[in-house]
């Protein structure tokens, strides 16, 4: 009897376990992709090149009517719900952009699913999510043995440390012996132990699963420092009562190329996600904004702009979506620069390496639209 009542109240941990177990279960139960595809392939209208034996995700999403996108449980600037439960942020805009590309003009055809760092990959692997856009670092093992694909790097980042100003620490090298709060299931925790080892400092980790409990422990003084991606630090800092009480130390100890990711196996869907990112970049490069995209779509005389915006050629169709997909995306969300300045500039983040390649130091570069 009490087993039942106590398990009812344990929603949180049970959910974690269940997520894992469900992942395992879904892998066992979902009809094997190749076998299920055989009958579905025949009536498919477009002669879709069967990609890697995978199913046709774009078609599945279109039929379902919504894109299911995994985001964080709440990280200011990247993905956070407001008091009405409406999600916003840089990663959220990537979910919306893919949905707009698929569905046309409606940006609300996305169901956002909050995921913890630990649970995110299982949720994607098991097919519970279509894609994940949650400040996730592209690494070799995630790309290969986890069965995932990283179509693009939407934000170049690196890991840093945040301390209270009152601690009097100005450099990460002074953190020897410090207690550091870190979230499990991240590259962050692995980098932290690598960094400690190679710099011969001892650190004491405090590893708390949920972001808000983790930050609370740092604020309460359980930890001397809090570590995560520098962008995440900026996000966490911005939501503190007194952001100025906290300083982000200058050292960046890792490379964290963050971006959206999908399951391995459906290259067509991966292509779409990749070109949504490139579309946002190209729009910025050609000076196309939310304000002028409609006009550019009809009047801009540059040939590449014409192709991008669906006036000449049928690049959209090659991606499996409408030819005006990029017009729709940019009209609602703006170009990469606009998405960035709406979500990340308020946190105090600079473009830095996320500037376009045309700016010195900028790494964001889109291949030609042709």
């Amino acid at each position: 009897m009490n087993t039942m009542s106590s398990s009812g109240k344990r929603g949180f941990s049970v959910r974690r376990l269940v997520l894992g177990a469900m992942g395992a279960g879904l892998l066992a139960l979902t009809a094997p992709a190749a076998r299920a595809q055989a009958p579905a392939a025949a009536p498919a209208p477009a002669p879709a090149p069967a990609a890697g034996g995978g199913s046709n995700m774009i078609e599945t999403i279109r039929n379902r009517g919504t894109l299911i996108c995994g985001v964080s449980t709440g990280l200011a600037g990247f993905s956070a719900p407001d008091s009405q439960g409406r999600w916003s942020g840089f990663d959220v805009d990537y979910c919306r952009a893919v949905a707009i590309a698929i569905f046309g003009t409606d940006q609300n055809r996305v169901r956002f699913v909050a995921t913890t760092p630990q649970a995110r990959f299982t949720a994607l692997q098991s097919g519970e999510l279509d894609m994940l856009a949650r400040n996730t670092t592209w690494t070799l093992s995630r790309d290969t043995s986890l069965g995932l694909d990283f179509p693009a790097t939407s934000f170049y980042d690196g890991q840093g440390f945040m301390v209270k100003r009152s601690l009097g620490v100005t450099s990460a090298r002074q953190l020897d012996g410090a207690t550091i709060c870190v979230q499990p299931g991240t590259t962050t925790e692995q980098n932290l132990s690598d960094w400690a080892r190679s710099n011969r400092v001892t650190i004491r980790p405090v590893v708390i699963e949920r972001q808000e409990d983790n930050v609370a422990a740092y604020i309460a003084g359980r930890c001397d420092a809090y570590t995560t991606d520098a962008s995440g630090l900026a996000g966490v800092r911005s939501t503190q009562q007194n952001p100025n009480d906290h300083i982000i130390l200058p050292e960046i100890i890792s490379k964290e190329p963050l971006g959206p990711l999908v399951r391995h196996g459906d290259q067509r869907f991966a292509d779409l996600v990749r070109w949504v990112h490139f579309g946002l970049l190209a729009a910025e490069e050609f000076g196309i904004t939310a304000a002028n995209v409609e006009q550019a779509a009809t009047a801009d005389q540059r040939p590449e702009v014409g192709r991008m915006l669906g006036r000449g050629g049928d690049l959209g169709q090659m991606l499996g979506v409408d030819n005006r997909w990029l017009v729709n995306v940019v009209k609602i969300l703006g170009n990469y620069g606009e998405v960035f300045s709406r979500n990340l500039t308020p946190l105090g983040l600079q473009r830095g390496p996320n500037a376009l390649w045309t700016t010195p130091g900028g790494l964001q570069y889109a291949p030609p639209f042709r």
Binding site: S6, S13, R16, G20, Q118, Q125, V207, H264
Partner: protein, 400 residues
């Protein structure tokens, strides 16, 4: 079926009829049904298994146990066995297992002691005591455990920082970094002494049994404590002394960010242990109360008539009988406590679930990770059940 069982010797060996391969033969039908059910179950399992393997392959998800020998790279805050991030996943999981066992074993002992005490107090003739305990039980049982854990953890975080630590005695510091206690350098001599002490406890128990048996024969009570003192304290001390009586105190002191040296009870462990103990003690209290109340009032009166004081009546007459009612539900409380310890990750205590989940996240091998968690909990639960069943059978024999 028609024959009325008379002598068990005959009932044990029913006359053998040849099996007829006909639907009208009951035994044949039985066998066919069982084979069918077995086939269905086996097919379902086979289907699940082949589906899983196929899906893993299509999605290019790694499988197998090879990852166990790879470097884990994950930081672990506290560990009973030596560990650093260059060790393997296998070792990291072993650390998780020992952390789970640590909190479960200490929790079970403390919850049993506290719960039994509360259960006895709950029946106290003192109105205030009884009602206070009643109130405690209600509060503790009605609030979600996770909330209680977060509450205790938040309380501990409310303690002052290391520089303002509460310092009630030399070498004892209480701060938001946990409780620091003076300790000493642990050497092989101490391990030997500990081993002898454990042997001493076992020997004392055996001696006590023999003493009781002889008391039954000659009515002469024998003191146990001198023997206990000799075997459990004296002998280990001698062993330690013969090894040169090494003792290097390890007193915690503040340096840099934190205390160095000494013994640490981390806030994470302490909050989890406190939460689990207080929560489970509430349930155990009720079990003990019900068990005591199940003993017939006449037993109290009869024992009282023999002139036994109330405490002895409880200890010698009532509790031994109540135990038979108490043990079975107690087993499920022990199992609950163990399983509830998986809430640990919410407050940053790295138990087996926490570490297996991180492993699963880094290797992407959900199936193996979940299997590891299942094996651990199954083995712990089965061990507890087996032990409790054995104990239950043992005390059940007392019945006349």
């Amino acid at each position: 079926m028609s024959d009325t069982a008379i002598d068990p010797r005959y009932a044990a060996k029913p006359p053998k009829r040849p099996l007829r391969l006909s639907w009208s033969d009951e035994r044949f039908r039985g066998i066919v049904w069982q084979v069918l059910v077995l086939a269905v179950v086996a097919t379902i399992f086979w289907w699940l298994w082949s589906n899983t393997v196929h899906n893993l392959e299509v999605r290019r998800i790694a499988s197998g146990w090879g990852f166990l020998s790879r470097e884990a790279g994950l930081p672990i805050a506290e560990s009973l066995i030596p560990y650093d991030p260059t060790n393997t996943y296998l070792r990291a999981l072993a650390v998780g297992l020992t952390n789970t066992l640590k909190v479960a074993i200490i929790g079970i002992i403390l919850a049993t002691l506290l719960g039994t005490l509360l259960g006895v107090l709950r029946l106290s003739p003192n109105w205030l005591v009884s009602k206070l305990v009643g109130g405690y039980v209600e509060v503790v049982r009605d609030l979600p455990l996770l909330l209680q854990l977060l509450f205790w953890y938040a309380m501990l975080q409310g303690l002052p920082g290391p520089r303002q630590a509460i310092n009630p005695a030399t070498g004892v510091f209480l701060s938001n970094r946990g409780l620091k206690l003076p300790w000493f350098e642990w050497l092989p001599a101490h391990s030997w002494a500990l081993l002898v002490c454990v042997i001493g406890i076992v020997a004392t128990l055996i001696w006590r049994r023999a003493a009781l048996a002889r008391q039954m024969a000659d009515g002469q009570p024998r003191k146990v404590w001198p023997v206990a003192l000799l075997l459990c304290v004296g002998a280990p001390l001698v062993v330690w002394a013969t090894q040169g009586a090494p003792f290097t105190p390890d007193i915690p002191f503040l340096r840099g960010f934190n205390f160095q040296g000494g013994l640490t009870v981390s806030p994470e462990f302490f909050a989890l242990l406190t939460g689990l103990t207080l929560y489970t003690a509430g349930f155990i209290c009720e079990i003990v109360r019900a068990g005591i109340q199940a003993v017939h009032q006449g037993q109290w009166e009869a024992a009282g008539a023999l002139g036994l004081p109330r405490g002895q009546v409880m200890r010698l007459v009532v509790l031994p009988q109540a135990l038979r009612v108490i043990i079975p539900p107690m087993t499920s409380q022990f199992l609950n406590l163990t399983k509830n310890s998986s809430l640990a990750v919410a407050i940053g205590y790295q138990d087996i679930v926490s570490i297996a989940n991180t492993t699963l996240n880094q290797t992407g091998q959900a199936i193996e990770g979940i299997a590891a968690i299942m094996v651990v909990y199954l083995s712990i639960s089965l061990s507890i059940s087996l032990f409790m069943n054995w104990y239950n059978a043992r005390i059940a024999l007392v019945e006349r």
